[in-house]
């Protein structure tokens, strides 16, 4: 398993500003992800945070809006840039534990999320 800490747990921000969310994992993991959960919705994958290289973004998400850093195997940050009220969401960091010879059957572990409200 993995224990994931996210900061801040919640914040209220003004339109046009940027906020950086931090994710710290208690063990070295290969795969780290950032998800967005809009109010009353399911989770949408923003990007895969790659250690030492640029993140891999999903369709509809771009680096200029959601820059991601991953300087090592236990830490990542997601920045929400030039925020608007539509960015009000929960942002969740997650890691995947690889298991067995198939490699990708492991579950995701989640942080408790960062609840962002943009006014």
């Amino acid at each position: 398993s993995a224990v994931i800490s996210q900061k801040p747990s919640r914040d209220i921000c003004q339109r046009g500003t940027s906020l950086t969310i931090q994710c710290q994992v208690d063990s070295q993991v290969t795969m780290m992800f950032w998800y967005r959960q809009q109010p009353g919705q399911s989770l949408t994958l923003i990007a895969t945070a790659n250690q030492g290289s640029e993140a891999t973004y999903e369709s509809g998400f771009v680096i200029d809006k959601f820059p991601i850093s991953r300087p090592n195997l236990t830490f990542s940050t997601l920045t929400v840039s030039n925020m608007s009220p539509e960015d009000s969401s929960i942002y969740l960091c997650s890691v995947r534990v690889l298991q067995g010879s198939l490699g990708n059957t492991g579950e995701l572990f989640f942080g408790e999320g960062s609840r962002l409200t943009v006014l």
Binding site: I4, M31, Q41, S42, L43, L45, L92, S94, R96, Q99, L102, N104, T105, E107, L108, F109, F110, G111, E112, G113, R115
Partner: protein, 115 residues
């Protein structure tokens, strides 16, 4: 390609009665399947997972799910609901082979437990 459909957006039960949360999936690969629970203002917690071993999977807090390939279903059940089970539940599918590691989340089922 893969997808998951949670057939009910909201399920309401009385405390002590059975719980059934329905999930159907489609996947081009032999899938891994998961159920997660999200309590209010909390992150997601894994309830149970199916990864091509036993088709009846037991999870935490008395929940279990049965993988039925012929029906492409992975319904979540619990014999007796407790007030603390009130939460949002997500069914998740992932291919268990190949290089595609991406998980696909269902839209969620909100479980309400009435006293």
């Amino acid at each position: 390609a893969q997808s998951v459909t949670q057939l009910d957006s909201h399920v309401s039960v009385s405390e002590g009665t059975p719980v059934l949360l329905r999930c159907n999936y489609s996947s081009s690969y032999s899938p891994s399947l998961f159920w997660y629970v999200q309590h209010p203002n909390k992150g997601l917690q894994l309830l149970l997972k199916y990864t091509s071993a036993a088709t009846l999977v037991k999870g935490i807090n008395g929940f279990e799910a049965e993988f039925k390939k012929s029906e492409t279903s992975f319904h979540l059940t619990k014999p007796s609901a407790h007030m603390s089970d009130a939460a949002e539940y997500f069914c998740v599918v992932s291919p268990s082979g190949g290089s595609n590691y991406k998980l696909t989340f269902g839209k969620g089922t909100l479980l309400t437990v009435n006293p």
